[in-house]
């Protein structure tokens, strides 16, 4: 019996699921030979209540999403958080800086009473998550690597060292040398430093490494004449949830 795989989404842009389909024909065919995809509302009509591996995209931002998420946890043998919104809360948590009513009022004005929302949370704030596929969006190759590891019954190996390591390997000039702020020294790698390679800085979408060297980040900022406030503003974009709960 092939393992049954399901995809679910909560509050998100659904870009993670879309990128999961950025496959070559060979990759798709071998994937479909190895697993049965039984739930994937964005691209398929059939639905099933039995599945082994659930990939969950998105944060939790409404009360009604909580029982739905718990139900997925109850049914799945393995739950994988897919993407920054599910893993660390991501950009959705930016609204947590405002009272819920104020955020609703900014968007809906006098009609705000029709709508409900709660402070955004990553899914592991509510259920046990077995594995994390990080990033906004995740790297498709890493997602495939995780799927392969799960099929072989192995623990997927996801880097737990900072982006700087991969950035150096990519041959990039250090972002700090270019006078910009960067989160690379404390953020988890695995992305190949794609943002820096594309001319930008690290935004922190994969979350902090387990044991971030914050003193070293402060030293770097000081050396380049940058402020902690500025880097915290950048950090908030994806990591508000970690910052607030810390």
């Amino acid at each position: 019996m092939k393992p049954k795989v399901a995809f679910f989404d909560f509050t998100s842009c659904e870009g993670c699921q879309l990128d999961a389909l950025n496959l070559t024909a060979e990759e798709l065919i071998s994937l479909l030979n190895a697993v049965d995809i039984v739930n994937f509302r964005e691209v398929m009509t059939e639905r099933a209540d039995n599945y082994d591996i659930a990939f969950v995209e998105g944060s939790i931002t409404r009360e009604s999403e909580i029982p739905r998420l718990q139900n997925i946890r109850d049914r799945a043998k393995v739950v994988v958080a897919l993407g920054a919104c599910a893993c660390i809360g991501g950009v959705n948590c930016l609204k947590n800086h405002l009272p819920v009513d104020a955020a609703l009022r900014i968007v809906y004005g006098k009609d705000a009473r029709y709508y409900d929302t709660i402070p955004a949370r990553p899914i592991d704030a509510l259920i046990k998550v077995d594995y994390y596929v990080r990033g906004c969006p995740p790297i498709t190759a890493e997602l495939l690597k995780v799927v392969k590891a799960l099929l072989l019954g192995k623990k997927p190996e996801i880097p737990n060292y900072p982006v700087c390591t991969e950035c150096k390997m990519a041959g990039n000039i250090c972002v700090f040398e270019r006078g910009m702020t960067c989160l690379g020294p404390v953020i988890r790698a695995g992305c190949g430093a794609i943002c820096v390679t594309s001319g930008r800085h690290c935004w922190g979408c994969r979350g902090l490494v387990d044991d971030p060297n914050l003193d070293s980040e402060k030293d770097i900022l000081q050396k380049y004449g940058l402020t902690v406030e500025k880097v915290v503003e950048k950090f908030k974009i994806y990591n508000t949830y970690a910052e607030v709960t810390k």
Binding site: L18, L21, V43, M44, R62, L94, I106, V107, I194, T197
Partner: protein, 421 residues
């Protein structure tokens, strides 16, 4: 007494969460409703207080399918606020990047989301067995779009190198030449798509409505021009609020819009109706071959208009690359001087006209944001189409009615989570 109760909870093969409700007794319709139940995402609140350079990065996350459209609208709004005029080179690269997303989005919709309805299956996955050549071709086109976007912006979903004022990194000439060859091959792949669409019997339902899209004298508009309406003529982008007239309804977390009539349509068919004479030659021939001619009031033909636009986007990309190769690429100074002010960006996302309207303080901090998304503008038109189509098919079996309503929603290619931004 014959009761008909249809409740499609979470329409599938669309982006985001929406329900279809239909209740009728003895042929009398009691309720027909398109419900948008996506979680409110509150981006306009989340953008407040952010420094300008983080704004397009966050705004891109409104949508995983049309993140390039959101980034571009966001960048253009900021440029308008700061009085920045992007260079000709930047505009060429932006248009090319834009095409990458349009091709991917239209191909995904036509071949992965819509085609299964006509081929009698629930998703693209069983087609790997029965229509392998179509799936292989669709994935090749998708991969090509990703490669083109990666070359220009580092990646397709949530692009990186496109920034306020220009590009943080320029593509390599050799890579542009290499992708040009793949774009030529894509024309053949699109021919296969066209042949497939010729064999599909697209529902003939027709309902005239108002069509709204950007219009530019120079070209089939995607990232420039004024607002054009089939009912109201031309409106400058600065007065977009006079066209969109947003309002809230309790059954939808996405806002609705209306202009001259009860509802209006945006997207590929609206663009085709307004700008068809500016399509490039091959795209124009494709429209003829697929029986699409303006004005077309048939919502199920939106997908056909998308196929036509995909051909146009590939032709246009070849033209843009030739121009870039002819001019060469130069490193440009993208330095930004912030100033207080308001700016509006308007682009044609794959699903239709998209507005980002920002106000900044003198330090470049965003103080107010308003985003109006294509699917917001289409929700009301979907509702009106449903109200018009249901009486025409009440004598049909329930399954057919349900499936037709699902196909109608799908035809609009709604980006629902985007619309509840």
């Amino acid at each position: 007494m014959t009761k008909l109760n249809i409740n499609v909870h979470h329409v599938t093969r669309v982006e985001g969460h929406g329900n279809i409700v239909l209740n009728a007794t003895d042929g009398k319709i009691e309720k027909v409703l398109w419900e948008v139940i996506e979680s409110p995402r509150l981006f306009e609140a989340m953008l407040c207080g952010r420094y300008y350079e983080d704004v397009p990065h966050i705004a891109s996350r409104i949508c995983g399918i049309c993140s390039i459209a959101h980034s571009t609208a966001s960048i253009q709004a900021i440029e308008a606020a700061f009085g920045i005029q992007p260079s000709e080179q930047t505009l060429l690269l932006r248009k090319l990047l834009y095409n990458a997303e349009l091709i991917e989005s239209h191909v995904l919709h036509a071949l992965f989301l819509v085609a299964p309805d006509f081929l009698g299956v629930g998703s693209v996955f069983p087609l790997v067995e029965t229509h392998k050549e179509v799936v292989v071709m669709a994935l090749r086109l998708k991969k090509l779009s990703y490669s083109l976007a990666e070359l220009l912006a580092g990646r397709k979903t949530h692009p990186l190198s496109c920034v306020v004022g220009g590009f943080a990194k320029l593509p390599k000439i050799d890579e542009l030449k290499a992708i040009r060859t793949r774009l030529e091959d894509a024309l053949a792949d699109l021919d296969v798509t066209v042949e497939l669409f010729k064999t599909l019997s697209i529902p003939n339902f027709s309902r005239e409505t108002e069509y709204i899209a950007l219009k530019d004298d120079k070209e089939y508009a995607f990232i420039s021009g004024h607002i054009a309406s089939t009912d109201a003529g031309i409106t400058p982008v600065a007065k977009y609020l006079e066209v969109t007239n947003e309002f809230c309804v309790p059954h939808s977390t996405a806002k609705y819009t209306k202009n001259k009539r009860d509802s209006y349509m945006v997207g590929a068919l609206a663009r085709f109706n307004l700008n068809h004479d500016q399509l490039l030659p091959r795209a124009r021939r494709t429209a003829e071959e697929l029986g699409l001619s303006a004005p077309c009031h048939k919502p199920f033909m939106i997908t056909v208009a998308q196929v036509v636009e995909a051909v146009h986007a590939v032709e246009d990309s070849l033209r843009l690359i030739d121009q870039i190769l002819d001019w060469g690429l130069e490193e440009e100074d993208n330095a930004v001087k912030v100033q207080a002010g308001r700016g509006i960006g308007a682009v044609e996302a794959p699903r239709g006209i998209l507005f980002h309207d920002y106000t900044f303080d003198k330090n470049g901090i965003l103080t107010k944001a308003n985003c109006i998304i294509p699917t917001n503008q289409n929700h009301n038109n979907v509702q009106k189409d449903m109200e018009a189509i249901v009486p025409l098919m009440l004598d049909q079996p329930e399954d057919i009615i349900r499936h037709t309503l699902e196909m109608l929603v799908r035809a609009y290619d709604p980006c629902i989570s985007c619309s509840a931004h």
